[in-house]
C-alpha cells in the first residue's frame, strides 16, 4: 500500500510499504477514505518530538471503511464506515473506565519510555513517535486499529466524510479545551492560535455559553476565519500588544479563561521570542512557551488556563508567581476523544456545529509531501489539509 512515511526532519515521502495485518483479536483493518494533516504533525515534521524513526507512517486523524475484523470484534461489520479516535485506548483499564481515555494504561507498548520522561505513561497514539507506542498512522491506504471494539465509531450514512473527520481529534480537542474552562454565562474566553483547534475551541466555547470569544494570531486569513465563522473579536499580535489589548477588551479584568491552542512551537516577537527560539534550537529548552506565558499573565484572577496545545518537555521562565498570586487553574492534556464521540456527533447531525469550514486544501495522498511543506510554511492561506487516497496526484482542490 501507499503511505506517508517520515524520513527525517522536513522530509516526508509517499512510500510503498507492506499492508497491515490483524495481529490481535480486538484488531480491525480499515481502508482509509480521508485523513488530515494535524498541526501537531508539524511538530514531528520539524523534528521537535523525540523518538521518531525513519520509516514511521504518519497520521492520527483518519476515517475509513472496515475491511477486516479480528475474532474479538463483534459490534462492527465489514463495510461499516467509521471514525477512529487518535488515542489508542483499551476501554478496560481504570483510566478508560473513568473516561480518561487518553491516559490508557495498556495501549502503549513503549510505556517505559514515557515513564522515564514524564513519570507515567499515556495512551498509544497513531503515527506519533515511539514515545507514544510507535503505531503506524492513518496517512495511508490502510491502517490497523487496535481495540477496534471501542476504538471505532460508526458514522451515520447521511453525513459526508468531511463533516465527521474532525471527530477523530481536533473537534473533541477544541471542545475539551473549552469544557476545561468551566464556562459560565457572561464569560470571555481568549484563544491563542486561530488554527483548526483554536477555531473549534472558539465554536465550542460559544456553544458552552461564553458571551465573548477573542482569537489571537498573526495570519490575517486565520483571524478572518475566526471573525467570520466563530463570531470572534481578534487580536493580531504582530500589530498589537496582546496583554494590553485584552485588558482593554475586558474592562481591565482579563479574560475569564484562556486557551493555549499553540503549544510548543509558539512564535512571538521581541527579545523573549528570540530567547526561546535560540534555546530550543540549541536543545537547551525543549519547548517554546511564549504563548503560555502570555496566557498566564493575561488571565483574570481566579480564571482558568486551558492547554490543548502540545508540550513535550521542559520550559523556561514559567511565571509560577503569577499562577499562584492570581489563583489560576491550569488544565491540560491529550484529548479523551472517545467520550466526546456521541455528544459531538449529535451536534453535527443536528447542524448545531459544522466543522468542515476549516478545510482549505484537499489533496491526493501522494501529494502529502507538498502538503506538509505548504502547511508548515503557512503558505497559500493553508489552515487545514485533508488527504484523499482516491484522488489522483495533482488533482488537489
Amino acid at each position: 500500500m501507499k503511505a506517508v512515511v517520515w524520513h527525517g526532519k522536513h522530509n516526508v515521502q509517499v512510500d510503498r510499504v507492506p499492508d497491515p495485518q490483524i495481529l490481535n483479536p480486538r484488531d480491525a483493518i480499515i481502508r482509509v477514505t480521508l485523513s488530515g494533516i494535524c498541526g501537531s504533525d508539524l511538530h514531528l515534521y520539524n523534528g521537535i518530538v523525540p523518538t521518531m524513526k525513519e520509516g514511521d507512517i504518519l497520521g492520527h486523524e483518519f476515517m475509513g471503511v472496515v475491511v477486516e475484523l479480528g475474532s474479538g470484534v463483534t459490534n462492527l461489520s465489514k463495510g461499516d464506515r467509521v471514525v477512529v479516535p487518535f488515542p489508542i485506548s483499551c476501554g478496560d483499564c481504570w483510566y478508560c473506565k473513568q473516561g480518561l481515555w487518553s491516559l490508557c494504561d495498556n495501549s502503549n507498548p513503549n510505556s517505559f519510555l514515557l515513564e522515564k520522561l514524564y513519570g507515567d505513561t499515556g495512551a498509544g497514539i497513531f503515527g506519533y513517535s515511539h514515545l507514544y507506542g510507535g503505531y503506524a498512522g492513518g496517512q495511508a491506504e490502510y491502517v490497523r486499529v487496535p481495540y477496534a471494539d471501542v476504538g471505532m465509531h460508526k458514522v451515520p450514512e447521511e453525513l459526508s466524510d468531511e463533516q465527521v473527520l474532525f471527530l477523530t481529534d481536533i473537534f473533541p480537542t477544541g471542545y475539551q479545551a473549552a469544557e476545561n474552562c468551566s464556562i459560565r454565562d457572561g464569560d470571555t474566553v481568549a484563544v491563542w492560535g486561530c488554527g483548526p483547534v483554536g477555531l473549534l475551541a472558539m465554536k465550542s466555547a460559544q456553544h458552552l455559553g461564553a458571551t465573548n470569544v477573542i482569537g489571537i494570531d498573526r495570519f490575517p486569513e486565520r483571524l478572518e476565519m475566526a471573525k467570520r465563522h466563530c463570531d470572534a473579536e481578534v487580536i493580531n499580535y504582530e500589530e498589537q500588544d496582546v496583554t494590553e489589548a485584552l485588558h482593554h477588551m475586558t474592562g481591565g479584568r482579563g479574560p475569564d479563561a484562556c486557551i493555549d491552542a499553540v503549544g510548543t512551537e509558539a512564535h512571538g516577537s521581541g527579545m523573549e521570542a528570540a530567547y526561546d527560539m535560540v534555546k530550543q534550537t540549541l536543545r537547551l529548552e525543549s519547548d517554546r512557551p511564549i504563548a503560555l506565558r502570555q496566557l498566564i499573565r493575561a488571565c483574570r484572577k481566579g480564571g482558568t488556563v486551558s492547554i490543548p496545545g502540545v508540550y513535550s518537555g521542559f520550559v523556561d521562565k514559567m511565571p509560577m508567581g503569577s499562577v499562584f498570586a492570581k489563583g489560576l487553574t491550569l488544565r491540560a492534556g491529550q484529548t479523551h476523544v472517545h467520550r466526546y464521540l456521541d455528544p459531538l456527533m449529535k451536534l453535527i447531525v443536528s447542524g448545531a456545529i459544522d466543522t468542515s469550514f476549516i478545510i482549505t486544501h484537499r489533496m491526493a495522498l501522494e501529494d502529502a509531501p507538498a502538503g506538509y511543506r505548504l502547511f508548515n510554511e503557512k503558505k497559500d492561506g493553508c489552515i487545514k489539509i485533508v488527504l484523499n487516497p482516491r484522488l489522483a496526484s495533482g488533482a488537489s482542490a
Binding site: N24, P25, R26, C93, W94, K97, N106, P109, F112, P146
Partner: protein, 242 residues
C-alpha cells in the same frame, strides 16, 4: 506457616525504606559520620558556628546512612550499592491491575500461565501438588532450568515459592495480592530474590542473572496487566513478519 510470618520472611530486609548502601560503605559511613560530627561539635565550641553546624549535619547524615543502609541522595540519583551484599539480589515491583485479587491470584496460581507474560521464561511445568519445573531462556540463547516448590499459598492473598535442589540460579519469591482502595482493582507486589553465581566465563546462570532486572520484571507485569484487563498483549507491529 502463618501468612504474616511468610511475608516477614521475605520482607525482613525490605522494611519501609530499602537498603541501597553496601556493607563496606555503610561501615565507612558510620566511622566517617561520627568523626565529622565530633569535629563539628569541636568547631562549635571554638565559636566557628556555620562550619560546625554544617559538619554536624553532614556527620549526622552519614551516621544515619551507615546505621540504616539507606541514603536519600543515592535514592534520588538511582544508585544502589547494596546489590551484591549477602542475601542475594532482591527485586521488588508493583503494579495495579483492574481485576479482583482472586482473579489475579487464579491466573498467577496456574503457573503454566507465567511464560505468557514473563519474557525470559520459556516454560513452567507443574510436576506435583506443590512442585514445578522452570525453564528460562536468557541472552544469546542460554537456558537455565530448575525445580521449585510452593512454600506458601493463600488464595487471593499470597504465593511464596523457592527453588529446590542444586539450582544453578537459586531463587525465591513472593507475590502479594492486595485489594486496592476505591475499586481500583488489585495491588500486586512481586518480590524476587536470586543468588547469582560467580561471574565465570560461559556460565549460563550468570548471564541469566544479569538479564533479570527490575525494569524487565516491570515490563513483564505490564504484559500481565494487559492480558488480564484487555485479553491481549499490546503491539505496534505492522505485520506478523517482524
Amino acid at each position: 506457616m502463618e501468612l504474616t510470618e511468610a511475608v516477614s520472611r521475605i520482607g525482613a530486609r525490605m522494611k519501609s525504606r530499602k537498603v541501597n548502601v553496601g556493607h563496606t560503605e555503610r561501615n565507612a559511613s558510620l566511622v566517617g559520620g561520627a568523626a565529622l560530627a565530633v569535629t563539628g561539635i569541636k568547631a562549635l565550641t571554638g565559636r566557628r558556628y556555620l562550619p560546625g553546624l554544617a559538619m554536624m549535619v553532614a556527620g549526622g547524615m552519614f551516621l544515619y546512612r551507615g546505621k540504616t543502609g539507606f541514603c536519600g541522595l543515592y535514592q534520588a540519583l538511582g544508585v544502589d550499592t547494596s546489590e551484591n551484599a549477602a542475601g542475594g539480589v532482591l527485586i521488588e515491583t508493583f503494579v495495579t491491575i483492574n481485576r479482583t485479587p482472586q482473579q489475579v491470584y487464579e491466573f498467577w496460581r496456574n503457573l503454566e500461565n507465567l511464560p505468557s507474560f514473563m519474557r525470559h521464561l520459556e516454560s513452567v511445568e507443574v510436576t506435583g501438588e506443590n512442585t514445578s519445573h522452570w525453564k528460562a531462556r536468557g541472552p544469546a540463547g542460554v537456558t537455565v532450568e530448575w525445580d521449585a516448590e510452593m512454600v506458601a499459598d493463600y488464595p487471593g492473598q499470597l504465593i511464596l515459592w523457592r527453588s529446590t535442589g542444586e539450582a544453578a540460579l537459586p531463587n525465591e519469591g513472593t507475590v502479594e495480592f492486595r485489594e486496592a482502595p476505591g475499586d481500583r482493582g488489585t495491588e500486586l507486589k512481586v518480590s524476587i530474590r536470586y543468588y547469582p553465581p560467580g561471574d565465570g566465563p560461559g556460565k549460563a546462570a550468570a548471564k541469566m542473572a544479569n538479564a533479570i532486572t527490575g525494569a524487565q520484571i516491570e515490563e513483564d507485569l505490564k504484559r500481565l496487566k494487559q492480558i488480564l484487563e484487555t485479553g491481549e498483549t499490546a503491539t505496534a507491529e505492522r505485520t506478523n513478519n517482524h
